[in-house]
């Protein structure tokens, strides 16, 4: 089996094609078909796991065209993500079976979800950056199609466009990174690049890693390209879960982890990543405070958590990043699926229209609670362990980093519990009614909650498996502070939203300016909109004007001048060239009409003239003149 590990993503592709062919007939059952593929992939991954644990690193290469190769590799990082993605995709598909009940376009939906999963697997298993980029872009396409699934909604169409374009900007940077790598090392294979890295000019290493990180900023939605992710909530909830937990945003983290050997050599890039990560972690956590849409709060929390992971990568703490990636995948998938259930039950997205869901749907409430505790970083649930790992890494690099992350961590605990209290506690705030969730929706919740709770306990073996080195023993101080901070956040949320001792509205009033700023997401979206609508489209309009009036104007001037010249030539032709001809002609006509007068019709006159002429001729002959 290990020799055919590169077949791991193929079942998903196969079922996707089957879905395309038979999806119309199968309808919701396409989900099971898809699950067949993801389960197959999962099992195949599982079957090669022992070999990988035993230390096998496999690589297979084929020629794509000319000297470009496509190839697959299997190492601990890859297998971890393969397992994670196929596992999560299986349950998301199962969930979608229930969630998408009664929707149209199911064939399209399930095919796209499977393609999405397939491309994520493709990114992970690729052994060269070009192939990763290819699947990376296909993921962009899938996100576009899935976010815009309800394309008849203008907001969905706009969000889809925004997602693709924003990530495309990042992709361009990534492509630049690829170009630098290819130009400098002459190869696109990871192992060749890493082998050549030692001889590379540090400037180019920095440039290449920054370029690749540009791609990560786009795909993993880091500041300043984070704007697409909150809007991506326009897609169906399973899609959100897929994007946030299993695919897309995680691809960026994976890529940087993959390029760790190169990143090690580029301190400037590391610093840059840390700064971006910190800005994202803190900035988006603040935005989550004022969000009112359930899924948006989760989106902001994803952004914030991704910021954590990027900081971890920037501090060369690969174990922390990957662990957090795994844990986050579980609890965020759980949160989204839970959110889907809540939305199903309450029939609204707005948290202020929810409330009292605890009583309506116990299963959802409990599982979401587990996820909330986990993300807040309260031990012993999973989030705590990985977050702690990241904080320790950051503290090693610079205590200030750690401080900022702790602040973000505090905010995380606060807004997550705020969300929980508002949605699940108290009484329903509106009369809207949804419908209960079916079994296919609840089973994934239960399974995922199990992993969200306990996956953190396996941090050490997983970290050793991935990085190959034993995790350094953490600092107790940092651990203690992080627990305290998380509990403080929980406490504050309980005070404000649980016991309602302090009025949230009052606080909002006090910090009105800040609140407006946060609600408007720091006006970054507005600035981008302004930039696109006025600068880019303006430039386009200017270019259009330039094209129509200047370039074409020159053509028209050339045309007019040519026409003018030809008119002048025509005048010259008529009055001068032709004039001469006609002058000659009229001279002949005039002369002829004069000479004609001698032609009297008198025979004898003619005869006389003939005689005279003959005489003259004779005379001339004898005169020697002829």
């Amino acid at each position: 089996m290990i020799d055919y590990f590169w077949l791991i993503p193929m079942p998903v592709l196969f079922t996707m094609i089957l879905t395309l062919l038979f999806g119309k007939k199968l309808g919701l059952k396409s989900a099971y078909l898809g699950m067949l593929g993801t389960i197959a992939s999962f099992c195949m991954s599982l079957s090669v796991l022992p070999d990988v644990i035993a230390g096998t690193v496999k690589q297979v290469e084929f020629t794509w065209f000319l000297n470009f190769k496509f190839g697959f590799m299997l190492d601990p990082l890859t297998i971890t993500l393969l397992l994670l993605v196929s596992f999560l995709a299986t349950f998301i598909l199962l969930y979608a079976n229930g969630y998408m009940h009664g929707e149209g376009g199911l064939m399209r939906f399930f095919a796209e979800v499977q393609l999405f999963t397939f491309s994520m697997l493709g990114v992970v298993i690729a052994d060269n950056i070009l192939q990763a980029f290819i699947f990376w872009e296909i993921m962009g396409l899938c996100s576009y199609l899935l976010i815009g699934f309800w394309f008849h909604k203008p907001s969905a169409a706009a969000a889809a466009k925004k997602a693709f374009l924003t990530t495309r900007v990042g992709d361009v940077f990534m492509l630049i990174g690829i170009l630098i790598l290819y130009t400098q090392t002459g190869s696109l294979q990871y192992h060749e690049i890493f082998a050549a890295a030692a001889n590379m000019d540090p400037f180019w290493i920095t440039a290449a890693t920054l370029g690749l990180f540009g791609g990560v900023i786009g795909k993993s939605a880091q500041f300043p390209l984070h704007v697409w992710l909150p809007d991506a909530m326009e897609g169906p909830t399973p899609v959100s879960a897929l994007i946030h937990a299993a695919t897309m945003v995680k691809a960026g983290i994976y890529l940087m982890a993959r390029f760790m050997p190169l990143l090690v050599l580029a301190p400037i890039s590391q610093n840059f990543m840390v700064i971006i990560g910190l800005i994202t972690a803190l900035g988006t956590a603040l935005m989550a405070l004022t969000a009112t849409d359930f899924k948006r709060v989760l989106a902001f929390s994803t952004l914030s958590q991704l910021g954590f992971m990027v900081v971890a990568l920037g501090t060369l703490n690969m174990a922390g990043a990957i662990l957090h990636l795994i844990n986050h995948a579980f609890f965020k998938a759980l949160l989204f699926l839970g959110a889907g259930c809540v939305i199903h039950v309450t029939g609204t997205n707005n948290i202020w229209e929810m409330g009292g869901v605890w009583k309506k749907d116990k299963v959802t409430a409990i599982t979401v609670l587990i996820a909330t505790i986990s993300i807040a970083g309260i031990p012993p649930l999973s989030g705590f362990w990985s977050k702690d790992e990241i904080l320790i890494g950051a503290a090693h690099a610079n205590p200030i980093f750690c401080g900022i992350l702790l602040l973000a961590s505090f905010l995380t605990a606060f807004y997550m519990f705020r969300l929980y209290y508002v949605v699940f506690a108290g009484k329903p705030r509106t009369e809207k009614h949804g419908h209960a969730c079916g079994k296919t929706m609840l089973i994934p919740l239960v399974v995922l909650s199990f992993f969200a709770a306990f996956s953190g306990l396996f941090s050490k073996p997983i970290a050793r498996f991935i990085t190959g080195e034993t995790m350094a023993h953490g600092s107790n101080t940092v651990m203690m502070i992080s627990i305290v901070v998380a509990l403080l956040g929980f406490l504050l949320a309980t005070v404000i939203y649980g016991w309602q001792k302090i009025s949230a509205a009052k606080i909002a009033n006090t910090f009105k300016g800040i609140c407006t700023l946060l609600i408007n997401r720091y006006y970054i979206d507005a600035a981008y909109n302004w930039f696109c609508n006025h600068i880019v489209v303006g430039l386009a309009k200017v270019a259009d004007f330039f094209d129509k009036h200047v370039i074409d104007g020159i053509i028209h001037i050339v045309r007019d001048v040519t026409l003018l010249v030809s008119k002048a030539a025509k005048w010259v032709d008529i009055y001068i060239v032709d004039g001469i001809i006609r002058g000659i002609c009229s001279g002949f006509v005039f002369g002829g009409s004069e000479i004609r007068k001698t032609s009297t019709g008198q025979l004898q006159q003619y005869l006389l003239l003939i005689a005279a002429a003959v005489t003259v001729m004779i005379a001339l002959v004898w005169g020697g003149l002829l």
Partner: protein, 104 residues
Amino acid sequence: MLEIGLTHYLLLGAALFAIGLFGAIGKKHVISILLSIELMLNAVNINLLAFSKFLPLSNGAGEIFSIFVIVIAAAEVAIGLAIAIALYRSKGSLDLDKFNLLRW
């Protein structure tokens, strides 16, 4: 007197031709002009015969030519007179000054 040679005959022909020419130009009557033309033709015949007789290489061709000239003259007279009659019928006159039919 002088020996009569080619030049004499030719001078005679020239004189006769000149008289015919004067007639053709200077007379008014159509038939008179026809007569002048006959004179010129005779002058030509004299020349032809003279050449034929006096030039060594002529081989008598002049005589044959003269015969043809006479034939053509006969034809010409016939047609000319017919035209004169037709003219007279249509115009009532044979005064050539009055005709300018060749004027376009």
